[in-house]
C-alpha cells in the first residue's frame, strides 16, 4: 500500500525527562497534535505514534486512516474520559496501549468505541484498566484481533466488558486475551460473527455472554475460571466447537449455560473441572457430540423443558455426577457415549454395552432435594443405595438412558 504522507508526532524523550515534557506538550492543550493530524489525514494515510504518555481523551477518528503505535505509546483516560471514538469506516488501529478510561453510570466509557462503522480493524493493542476496552455499536465487518485486554474489576456494577458488541454483524473477534472484566466478550443482537481462539479468564461474570445473536460461530476459545462461565441465551444457529471450558466453580457457575437456544451444534469441546459442565434450559434441536466432560461436579444438567436434543459420542470421565435433570420427561436422545461409571457388560464384543446406562445417579437426585446429603457422598451407604437403584430403579428417571453405551473411551 503506498503511503502518501507520513506524519510523525515526535514526543520522544529520554526516560527521565519524559513525564515533565509530556505534560507541557499535551495535557495543557488537549486535542492538539494527534486530533489535528487525524483530521488532516487523507484516507489511507498512516499516522505513526511514538512511544510516550498521551493524556488525551475523546479523540475522534473521522477519516479512514491507519493509526499505528511504535513501541506502544500509552493513552491515558485518567479515570475520567473515553479515549478513542471511531466514526469512520476502514480505520486500522494497531500497536497502542490504552489505560484508565473513565467510569460513568450514564454512558459506557470505552477505550475504543466503534460507532456505526464497518471494516474497522483493531489489532495488537493493549488495554489496561479500561471500563470497556472495545465497544462496537451498530457496526459490521470489523475485526478485533490479537489484543491484550486486562482489568481489575471487582464487582459487576462497577465494571464493563472486554469486547462489547451490540447490534452488529459479521464481526471477527480473534486471538484476544481478556481478563478481569465483567464479561470477557459480550454479544447482544450480533449476527453471523465469529469468535475464535480467544482466551477469556478470571472475569467477574461470564467469559462470554451472548444474547439474541443468531448464526454465530465460536471456536477454539478457552474460557477459564470465570465467575459464572459462559452464557449463551435466546439465540439460534450457534456453532460452538473445540472450545475449552475450564475450572468455573461456584453455585451458579457453568462451563456453558444455554438458555432457549435452538438448532445449534456443540462439538469437540472440552469441559473440565466445572461445577456444572453444560447446563441446558429450554433448548431444542441441539446436537452435542464428540465433547469431553471430565472432572466436573455435574457433567450436564438437562432441564425437562429441553426437547429434540441429541447427545452422541461424548466421553464422560471422572465427573462426580454425569447428568442431572428436574423431571421425569425425557425428549432427548442419548446414545453411543462413553461413561466411565458404566458397569455393564459386552457379551457380543461389539464395543457397545448390552444393557443401557442410566446417567442420572440416585445420589444426584437425592442431593438435588437435600443438598446437605452431599456430605455423605461416597460413603458405603450411598454406594449401597446406588447398587440397589441399579437393580430396581425407583427414584431416577428411567427414561433418561443411553441404550448403546460404549465400552471404550472415544479417541477425541
Amino acid at each position: 500500500m503506498p503511503v502518501r504522507s507520513l506524519i510523525c508526532l515526535l514526543f520522544f524523550f529520554t526516560c527521565t525527562q519524559q513525564a515533565q515534557a509530556i505534560i507541557s506538550a499535551t495535557i495543557t492543550a488537549p486535542g492538539t497534535g494527534l486530533q489535528a493530524a487525524l483530521d488532516a489525514a487523507k484516507p489511507g494515510d498512516t499516522i505513526m505514534v511514538k512511544a510516550g504518555l498521551y493524556k488525551l481523551h475523546n479523540v475522534l477518528v473521522r477519516n479512514p486512516v491507519h493509526l499505528v503505535g511504535e513501541g506502544f505509546p500509552v493513552f491515558d483516560g485518567e479515570g475520567k474520559y473515553e479515549t478513542f471514538i471511531v466514526t469512520s469506516g476502514r480505520v486500522y488501529i494497531a500497536g497502542i496501549e490504552i489505560r484508565n478510561t473513565g467510569r460513568s453510570s450514564l454512558s459506557d466509557m470505552a477505550g475504543i468505541r466503534l460507532q456505526d462503522v464497518s471494516n474497522v480493524t483493531i489489532n495488537n493493542c493493549r488495554f489496561y484498566n479500561t471500563t470497556y476496552a472495545v465497544y462496537l455499536q451498530n457496526s459490521s465487518w470489523c475485526t478485533i484481533s490479537d489484543n491484550r485486554i486486562q482489568a481489575q474489576g471487582t464487582d459487576e456494577l462497577q465494571s464493563g466488558n472486554g469486547v462489547h458488541a451490540w447490534k452488529s454483524s459479521h464481526l471477527l473477534i480473534r486471538n484476544n486475551v481478556i481478563n478481569g472484566h465483567r464479561d470477557g466478550i459480550y454479544f447482544e443482537f450480533v449476527t453471523e460473527s465469529r469468535i475464535e481462539k480467544n482466551i477469556s479468564f478470571n472475569n467477574i461474570r461470564y467469559g462470554l455472554h451472548f444474547m439474541f445473536s443468531h448464526h454465530d460461530t465460536y471456536s477454539g476459545n478457552t474460557f477459564r475460571n470465570n465467575g459464572a462461565g459462559v452464557a449463551v441465551m435466546y439465540s439460534k444457529g450457534v456453532d460452538m466447537q473445540h472450545n475449552h471450558f475450564d475450572h468455573n466453580w461456584g453455585d451458579a457457575a457453568y462451563g456453558i449455560l444455554l438458555k432457549e437456544i435452538s438448532d445449534s451444534r456443540i462439538s469437540g469441546n472440552v469441559f473440565q473441572k466445572n461445577t456444572m459442565g453444560l447446563y441446558m434450559e429450554g433448548c431444542s434441536r441441539i446436537r452435542v457430540y464428540r465433547n469431553t466432560f471430565s472432572a466436573n461436579g455435574w457433567a450436564m444438567r438437562i432441564q425437562a423443558n429441553c426437547d429434540g436434543n441429541r447427545f452422541e459420542v461424548n466421553n464422560f470421565t471422572g465427573n462426580s455426577f454425569d447428568v442431572a435433570t428436574n423431571g421425569s420427561m425425557v425428549l432427548n436422545v442419548f446414545q453411543d457415549n462413553y461413561w466411565d461409571k458404566y458397569e455393564g457388560y459386552d457379551l457380543d464384543k461389539d464395543g457397545t454395552g448390552d444393557v443401557p446406562y442410566y446417567p442420572v445417579s440416585v445420589y444426584a437426585v437425592i442431593t438435588e432435594r437435600i443438598p446437605a446429603a452431599m456430605i455423605l457422598y461416597r460413603s458405603f451407604l450411598t454406594n449401597v443405595m446406588d447398587q440397589a437403584e441399579k437393580v430396581m430403579p425407583s427414584i431416577i428417571p428411567d427414561q433418561l438412558k443411553d441404550s448403546s453405551p460404549k465400552m471404550k473411551k472415544w479417541p477425541l
Binding site: N296, S320, P371, A372, A373, M374, I375, R378, S379
Partner: protein, 255 residues
C-alpha cells in the same frame, strides 16, 4: 521408647498376618488400578477399600495382637520401664507396621499408576485411619480384661463407625431436611473418623459439586483449605484422645 517400638515392630514385621494384609492390599490395588484405562475409577475403588477395610482390619488385628502380647507387656513391666512407655511402644510398633503395610500395599501401586495430589491424599487418609483405629484398639485393650469381650467390642466399634453411623446421619438428614442442618452435620462428621477421612477425599474428588451448593457454610468450609485442615485436625484428635485415655487407664490397671 524407640528400643521397645523397634522390637514390637520387628516382631510384627515377621508376623505372617501383617504380611498377608500387605499382600492382599497390594493385589487389590494392582488389580483395581489396572482394570481399565480409567485410573480414576480404580482410585475410587481403593477409596472404598480404605474407608471400609482399613478400619475393620486394623481394629481387629490390633486388638487381637494387643491381647496376645499381654504376657510380653507383663515381661516388660517387670523391668525398670515406665508403664506409659511400654504401652506407647506397643502402639507405635503396631500402628507403624500396619501403616507400612498400607503404604506398601496401596501407596506404592498408586504412585506407580496415578500420581498427583489425590493419590497423596488417599495414602495420608489411609495412614491416619490406621493410626486412629490402632489407638481405639489400644483403648479397648486397656478397658477390657477379657480377650473375647475385647474383640467383640472392637468389632462393634469398627462396624459402628464404618456402617451404622452413616445410617444414623442419613436418618437425621432425611428427618430434618427442612431445617438448616449444615452446621450440625459438619459437627457430626467430627464424631466419626471414617467420615472425616471420607470428607477429606470428597474435598479432593468432588469439590466442584460442593462448590455448587448455595449453602454458605459448605462452600466456605469445604471449598477452601479450611475443610481439609478441619478434617485432619479432628482426625489427629481421634488419635491423641484415645491414646491419652489409654495411658491414663493403663497407669491404674492391674495386670
Amino acid at each position: 521408647m524407640l528400643t521397645l517400638s523397634k522390637y514390637v515392630l520387628l516382631d510384627l514385621l515377621r508376623n505372617r498376618s501383617v504380611l498377608i494384609y500387605t499382600v492382599v492390599l497390594g493385589i487389590l490395588s494392582i488389580s483395581l488400578l489396572s482394570l481399565g484405562d480409567q485410573s480414576s475409577k480404580g482410585l475410587l475403588s481403593l477409596l472404598n477399600i480404605t474407608l471400609l477395610f482399613v478400619p475393620v482390619i486394623t481394629m481387629l488385628f490390633a486388638t487381637i495382637y494387643f491381647f496376645n502380647s499381654l504376657e510380653f507387656i507383663e515381661l516388660l513391666l517387670c523391668q525398670p520401664v515406665k508403664r506409659s512407655r511400654v504401652l506407647l511402644s506397643e502402639y507405635f510398633g503396631m500402628t507403624l507396621s500396619l501403616s507400612a503395610s498400607y503404604i506398601a500395599g496401596v501407596g506404592i501401586p498408586l504412585f506407580l499408576k496415578v500420581s498427583g495430589a489425590i493419590s497423596w491424599m488417599l495414602v495420608i487418609t489411609g495412614v491416619l485411619l490406621t493410626f486412629i483405629f490402632t489407638a481405639l484398639s489400644l483403648l479397648v485393650f486397656v478397658l477390657f480384661r477379657d480377650k473375647t469381650k475385647g474383640i467383640g467390642a472392637a468389632i462393634v466399634i469398627a462396624l459402628f463407625f464404618t456402617l451404622l453411623f452413616d445410617g444414623l446421619v442419613m436418618a437425621f438428614i432425611f428427618s430434618f431436611s427442612d431445617y438448616p442442618i449444615d452446621k450440625p452435620l459438619l459437627g457430626m462428621m467430627a464424631f466419626n473418623p471414617v467420615d472425616l477421612a471420607r470428607v477429606l477425599m470428597l474435598l479432593q474428588l468432588d469439590v466442584a459439586v460442593l462448590m455448587g451448593y448455595s449453602g454458605a457454610l459448605f462452600k466456605k468450609f469445604l471449598g477452601s483449605a479450611t475443610g481439609s485442615i478441619f478434617s485432619i485436625a479432628c482426625m489427629i484428635g481421634w488419635i491423641v484422645v484415645p491414646l491419652i485415655l489409654s495411658v491414663r487407664i493403663f497407669r491404674h490397671k492391674d495386670l
